[in-house]
């Protein structure tokens, strides 16, 4: 599957109390582009990522991936979109503590169509190996370090060969050296597969590796390297 382009317009997310969390009149991203989302804590970066992945339905506006406005989809259809199109890496990893590293990396095989199950599992093993966790696949994830857990989450996001990867501070828990290594891996893997990559990050080094940088403040885009 080739990566879909992103077209966001008139996007607004308001909290239940009526506070505007996000206000994006227009944002477009070409297929295969990589984008860094930057901004202070509480600026709305995660919220934007959640809207782009369909985890949060916007109060108004359209979020069009390819030709599909996911803001208009039912919850099950959005789940289907995520499973077919997105690889998600969450701000705090979110692993299935009960499962092994391999079980987590290949988690999507539990509900994928039968034909996809084996490919997902072997891809999960390959990504773990590529990220330096090849030996530890059968260990329970609660015995892994923070950085290792983040790499497992990356392997999980990539195992389904998604055309789009959305990552929320994937290197936050890592030391300089490891953060650089994982960031480099992520960018390389995305580029190799022609994937679209959107990453929230406070890490200037990681942001610099991306083709484009956007800064968000108070729910608005205040700076865009593409003009």
């Amino acid at each position: 599957m080739t990566a879909p382009a992103l077209h966001v317009e008139n996007l607004r997310v308001t909290s239940r109390e009526g506070r505007v969390l996000l206000d994006v009149p227009l944002l477009t991203l070409d297929a295969g582009q990589s984008l860094a989302l930057r901004g202070a804590s509480g600026a709305g970066k995660s919220t934007l990522l959640h809207v782009l992945s369909g985890l949060v339905r916007p109060s108004a506006g359209r979020v069009i991936w390819g030709a599909q406005d996911i803001a208009a989809l039912t919850e099950d259809a959005r789940a289907r979109f995520r499973r077919e199109t997105l690889g998600l890496i969450f701000q705090d990893c979110h692993l299935f503590e009960e499962l092994s590293a391999l079980g987590n990396a290949g988690l999507a095989s539990a509900f994928a169509p039968k034909a996809d199950r084996a490919p997902i599992r072997s891809a999960a093993a390959q990504w773990l190996a590529a990220l330096g966790l090849g030996q530890a696949g059968s260990r329970a994830v609660d015995s892994f370090s923070g950085g290792e857990r983040q790499r497992i989450a990356v392997a999980r996001a990539l195992a389904g060969s998604p055309p789009v990867i959305l990552a929320d501070e994937p290197t936050a828990a890592l030391d300089r050296a490891n953060a650089d290594a994982l960031g480099a891996d992520l960018v390389r893997l995305a580029a190799e597969g022609g994937r679209t990559l959107i990453t929230v990050t406070h890490d200037a080094g990681l942001a610099a590796r991306m083709g484009r940088q956007i800064t968000i403040a108070d729910g608005k885009i205040v700076e865009d390297s593409d003009g």
Partner: protein, 435 residues
């Protein structure tokens, strides 16, 4: 339809009923799980919260076990008391309470009773269709074991071939019940009366030698000492039913020399002959009854108590079912984060639903299975205690009513487990993901 159902053999009815009860639950399961593979994740969740899960399974197991044990125990008691009465085809006694005579003769719980006279006995024993008529004379005891006077016919009728030794051949010999307190070769002096009020010295100087031991019968007779009725009469200083120079034991007795007996067990040559004999000896000066029928009437009387008990068992089950439901809803909160993760990475709602349902089903099914085992063990234990106390052999085994109870419970709870599963997929995704 009702006619067709009635025409089926009872065993088939039971099987079909059990299947009909469990089918809705299994069908719901098949529909929920069709094409999905939630079990690896369910296994992981079960391991994760192993203590909570164990507690939950234990709660279900105890409640199912109570219901199962109650039902099995009640039936075992009913069957055991009926089995103990099996050999007592027809009893003839002086008019009075059938229940009193039955308790005295079948279950050896004696009380003072009017006697059947020698003449009446002769008439009964000589009636057409009577294979034998055995006097049953109680009133004495030895170390708490009833000493009962009767005949050789009765001994072999009650317990079949002896397990050991031979039957009594003189008025000073005795046969011990399977668990009676005297061994073959031993001897005993009976006390007059029963229990704490028994007069130990009343029959001083008289002793029975035990010559044989009966096989177990599963009735209070297993603790009894059986002696020739002539012995009982002699011990009490009465005529012994025979001419003074006649040392024979057993019938026929000389009516004028026979002191009388509280009850007579009548065994007919043909089964159907019992009914004719019963009506023949149901009259002003005698009463005749089938202990089995009296027992059935007693059980019938208890039916209200039994239905109250069953109702209580079902009610507890319903309450437990409700707590299972509430418990499951709480459990869903425990796994909410994992479920949110599944939904976030794109699991279909149906899959998440199936995970929650299968998780509940795993708890319910293991609880029910464990409860069945627990109920069986409990019923066994209580049966053993009852048997030890009453000498009525009570064996409580799992039967169809328990299977039906458990099948119904499983179906109902599996159905109810759809509710927490439904609630689980309606939970706010992002909130759960953040917790």
């Amino acid at each position: 339809m009702a006619e067709f159902w009635a025409s089926l053999p009872p065993a088939l009815q039971d099987v079909l009923f059990a299947l009909a009860l469990i089918a809705p639950g299994l069908l719901a399961g098949a529909l929920v799980l069709r094409g999905l593979r939630p079990l690896p994740l369910v296994g992981a969740m079960l391991r994760r919260f192993v203590w909570v899960n164990t507690l939950f399974v234990a709660l279900i197991a105890v409640s199912v076990g109570l219901g199962v044990g109650l039902l099995a125990q009640e039936r075992g008691l009913r069957q055991g008391s009926a089995r103990a009465a099996e050999k007592f085809d027809l009893i003839v006694a002086a008019p009075g309470s059938e229940v009193t005579v039955m308790l005295a003769s079948v279950y050896l719980q004696p009380s003072d009773m009017a006697l059947v006279t020698g003449a009446q006995y002769a008439e009964i024993a000589g009636a057409e269709g009577v294979a034998f008529a055995a006097p049953i004379a109680f009133g004495d005891s030895y170390q708490g074991a009833p000493v009962v006077g009767t005949t050789v016919d009765f001994v072999s009728h009650l317990a079949g071939p002896l397990a050991e030794g031979r039957v009594f051949a003189t008025a000073e010999e005795a046969v011990a019940g399977a668990y009676a307190p005297v061994d073959v070769g031993g001897s005993f002096t009976p006390a007059h009366g029963h229990g704490p009020g028994a007069e130990g010295g009343a029959h001083e100087g008289f002793a029975y030698a035990v010559t044989g031991r009966m096989a177990p019968t599963g009735s209070p007779w297993d603790r009894a000492l059986l002696v020739p009725v002539e012995g009982v009469w002699a011990v009490h200083g009465l005529a012994n039913g025979h001419a003074p120079d006649d040392s024979r034991i057993g019938p026929p007795f000389v009516p004028e020399m026979m002191p009388g007996t509280p009850a007579v067990l009548v065994h007919a040559t043909e089964l159907w002959g019992n009914y004719a004999l019963k009506s023949r000896f149901t009259r002003n000066d005698l009463m005749a009854f089938f202990p089995g029928t009296v027992l059935a009437q007693l059980h019938g009387l208890m039916r209200d108590v039994r239905s109250a008990m069953s109702l209580m068992a079902v009610l507890t089950q319903v309450l437990v079912t409700l707590s299972v439901l509430i418990g499951l809803m709480i459990m869903v909160r425990l796994i909410a984060r994992s479920l949110a993760l599944l939904r976030a990475i794109g699991a279909p709602l149906r899959f998440v639903f199936a995970v929650v349902w299968a998780y509940s089903a795993a708890l319910i099914l293991s609880g029910a299975a464990l409860g069945l085992a627990l109920g069986w063990v409990a019923a066994r234990g209580i049966s053993a205690v009852v048997t030890a106390r009453t000498d009525v052999l009570v064996t409580a085994n799992l039967g169809w009513p328990e299977a039906h109870l458990v099948a119904g419970f499983i179906s109902l709870t599996l159905f109810m487990a759809l509710l927490p599963a439904w609630l689980a997929v309606r939970r706010p995704l992002l909130t759960d993901l953040r917790t």
